[in-house]
């Protein structure tokens, strides 16, 4: 039985962010589904692990850890010597630039993109009315952010430099939904360098595996 347990549904962007890192580092893990429809994440058993009632949660031996971006950093540090090397850079300065783009994802890319994903991909499925004014606002915001990314990626193969890092990895889940499930794929595909970067990072074995697992899940 694998020592590392990840609790969360694969469909959750935060869960797939953490899982992508486990796969890149070739860490043996057990993925334990959490049924959000049944509000399992708000029940006492789950709240004892994660008091904010959110997925995912990682258990590694005696350590219980939440927040996907903290989980990503922990896995990349602990398993530094195996799997994809260089996810954290090779120097303090490289690491700093990776952290900078991690924060850009967290504070600037995530809010408008996750709003669009919720409104365009999930709200219709769950019978929640869409807010067209806010959708337009967030689309403009996200576009402006992507313009900065386009310039950056015209100068740099990956966000933090020449190598794939946790900064690029962190962008995989939201971008997947934007491109596949919102009808707004052209936000990504119309930008030459952003599109090339997206094609590149989403064709990594780790993300291909997550796509396979999602497909299998949706057939259950």
């Amino acid at each position: 039985m694998a020592a590392v347990k990840l609790y969360g549904p694969l469909a959750s962007t935060a869960t797939s962010r953490a899982l992508a890192c486990l796969l890149e580092k070739q860490v043996e893990y057990q993925l334990i589904p959490v049924d959000l429809k049944k509000r399992e994440q708000k029940k006492p058993g789950f709240l004892a692990m994660q008091p904010f009632g959110q997925v995912p949660v990682l258990q590694d031996g005696a350590l219980t850890l939440f927040e996907s971006r903290a989980i990503v950093r922990y896995i990349a540090e602990k398993y530094a010597a195996q799997g994809t090397i260089g996810l954290l850079g090779k120097s303090l300065a490289e690491r700093a630039v990776i952290e900078q783009w991690m924060e850009v994802e967290s504070q600037t890319y995530n809010p408008p993109s996750s709003f669009l994903v919720f409104q365009l991909a999930f709200a219709p499925l769950w019978g929640i009315p869409q807010n067209q004014t806010e959708i337009a606002k967030n689309e403009k915001k996200f576009s402006n952010v992507l313009d900065v990314y386009e310039k950056r990626l015209s100068e740099s193969k990956y966000l933090a430099g020449d190598e794939f890092s946790i900064a690029d990895l962190s962008h995989l889940p939201n971008t997947e939904y934007i491109v596949k499930a919102t009808g707004k794929a052209e936000l990504i595909t119309s930008r030459k360098y952003v599109n090339a970067w997206w094609e590149n990072i989403s064709s990594r074995d780790s993300w291909k595996k997550i796509r396979e697992m999602s497909k299998a899940d949706s057939k259950k």
Partner: protein, 215 residues
């Protein structure tokens, strides 16, 4: 060796986070004022440093860095061994520090900054406070602070029994909540959150920064 340069504004919470960290690590720096009221942060000269046009941006020799939470991590690592240790000693401790740093960024900062915007910044620009939005965000912050109350009843600081970046990241926003926003009761009504706030806000490194913030 050139001094570290901080481009920012004394009223900016993100700038204050970085200045506090520099003080905790006993690192000298040059402060370069970015005149936010005149839109200096959106002009080409600043955008060349930080394409997102926000403060602060830090220069350390060849390295230019933005995003306050990334900057403080860099400083905490670079100056390990001097001033206050801010990252924890073991891999597990470091992970917990990062977890609570993420909680600040994802769960505390959004409602706190919305409250600041609605109750102080927007009115300053001639806008009208949307009380419904303030109400919703006070509700969100109350739920978050209930969880902090529980956590801090078992742990002196957020990540454990040591002051860390996780606590430091909360200083600027809480300072404004308690002063300019006049929402101090959010803190003072909770025994352990209150004690934690008294403790961390009375650190000399923070007091030096808070002195220059509007009340």
């Amino acid at each position: 060796m050139a001094l570290i340069k901080v481009h920012g504004h004394h009223f900016s919470t993100a700038t204050c986070m970085v200045l506090c960290c520099l003080n905790e690590k006993q690192v000298e720096y040059d402060f370069v004022l970015v005149d936010l009221p005149t839109g200096a942060h959106k002009k080409p000269q600043y955008l060349a440093l930080n394409p997102f046009g926000v403060v602060p941006t830090v220069q350390d020799e060849d390295l230019t860095l933005f995003e306050s939470r990334a900057i403080v991590k860099y400083l905490a690592k670079k100056f390990k061994g001097q001033g206050t240790e801010l990252l924890g000693n073991t891999l597990a401790e470091q992970a917990l520090v990062e977890q609570w740093c993420q909680v600040e960024g994802q769960s505390f900062y959004p409602p706190a900054s919305t409250i600041l915007f609605q109750t102080v910044l927007f009115p300053l620009r001639g806008g009208t406070t949307d009380e419904a939005v303030v109400e919703i965000n006070i509700g969100k912050l109350n739920r978050v602070l209930d969880i902090y109350e529980e956590r801090l009843s078992k742990s002196k600081y957020l990540a454990g029994d040591f002051f860390s970046l996780a606590d430091l990241q909360h200083l600027p926003w809480t300072q404004y909540l308690v002063t300019a926003c006049k929402k101090g009761d959010l803190i003072s009504s909770r025994k352990h959150v209150s004690a934690w706030w008294e403790d961390i806000s009375s650190r000399p490194a923070w007091k030096k920064v808070a002195e220059k913030m509007p009340k």
